[in-house]
Point group: C2
Chain length 299, copies 2
Amino acid sequence: MSRWPAKVTVKEVGPRDGLQNEATPIATADKIAWINLLSETGLSYIEVTSFVHPKWIPQLADAVEVAEGIRRKAGVTYAALVPNEKGLERALGAGVDEVGVFMSASEAHNQKNINKTIAATFPVLEAVVKTAKQAGKTVRGYVSTVFGCPYEGPVAVDQVLMVADRLLAMEVDELSLGDTIGVATPKQVEDVLAEVLRRFPVERIAMHFHDTRGTALANILVSMEMGITTFDSSLGGLGGCPYAPGASGNVATDDLVYMLHGMGIETGIDVEQLTKAALFIRDKIGRPLPSRYLQTVGS
Amino acid sequence: MSRWPAKVTVKEVGPRDGLQNEATPIATADKIAWINLLSETGLSYIEVTSFVHPKWIPQLADAVEVAEGIRRKAGVTYAALVPNEKGLERALGAGVDEVGVFMSASEAHNQKNINKTIAATFPVLEAVVKTAKQAGKTVRGYVSTVFGCPYEGPVAVDQVLMVADRLLAMEVDELSLGDTIGVATPKQVEDVLAEVLRRFPVERIAMHFHDTRGTALANILVSMEMGITTFDSSLGGLGGCPYAPGASGNVATDDLVYMLHGMGIETGIDVEQLTKAALFIRDKIGRPLPSRYLQTVGS
């Protein structure tokens, strides 16, 4: 038996995690056109936007228009982030299939990012999850700074387990563990996952790596060896710091799919369609994207 | 026992494999200054140039001046490529510590690259290795296009084994297996290495990955799991195709060292000195280099 899975689910977070970090404003119509292209690639999951208050993320102020404007393809889950009940209301109104709630494993990042202590965040998310479930939606829980915090540095595994435990107790359907600042290396991934999987079922865990220091695919490789089969990624590696050209954000969907297909691992994704969608958003953004694979493709 | 080694040898090939692919001409004095900086990083092996005819690689026409001009640090091996006996003569005259001979596993790439069939290449290398050994030098054998050829596509493992066998029979001290065009994925690396290591001792095998499609660190991870402990890399990821900004060449030494150190694997390299050397050559080249790690470092 192979050390690697036969099949992997790739969850595209580019329209949200990618574009929310882009300095270049992208027109609503272009976002919609891009998501429609993504729907034709064979991806089964697209996170289309975030219903955070526009004051915090002006790049995604058009969340409702995007979620309502896209062409829904059967078999594709269209998800969006929501920070609180107000955001949830807008998301439900716009008819998203799944909502994502989010918090950090580190106190300082949680405070900076959502302006609350970790303890004060739980009841807010609990209410959101409950209402979303009552509305018949599935819920995804994101944990940020699992492998390191920009303010605190290393993050204790116990802290990750505590946050994961609380989110799973709220009955989120899946937990996405994020290396928000892209510091993880394979040994750390193995160590953290060993603890996480001792407590929680592998089917409910997804990994969300950023490729900031080039280690994302190696981290995904070791995650697969630990049994993980769901990974978040962003087409073209969108979402790098806008002030560091070439700096990568999320691991690039195109790099990930290149590796997986090269290993004989099924994703259901059509590389030609994926490349078409990558070139589309690259042209809208107007500069080369950080993904490696995309550099090898002609225009 | 860990699946990964406690210690890895990183062989810096930037001054040769990196600069030979750079369109920007680098002054001889700058190359020398850069190699002198590299000597202060803790690297134990630096490939400083190639004694190929300047007609083929004008970027390295100053091979003699570079090899003679650098400050030799005790404990560092200063190596250079040589294509034939004439090149060897110049290399020996310039006092290099080790010579590298090279050929391809694929017929078409060998013909394009060194203008000979594979069969006609063996006797040339045989003579070089013999003379180098008589002069008391160690010899490294490079095999290119091990995981794929730009002209032929996939390369049969038997072809790799045949070339490796002939080079090892010439008594090259180490064989460096190259993914010249950066197409390999971890499963292929595992498959090829399984065959190679069935025949040849692991201590004599080094891996040489390019990060063209982002898979280099994942390929290194799986190579370590197969027992390999020597890897070639190029500081800053130098050596990408000059016509594709952002395209990576060799796996970046700084990305590699970041991953290894993060995993608790010793390299003997001082990251601060390494970064200093990387910023030096980045400034000489005058544009951002492809490495990921370097983007996270201030200027």
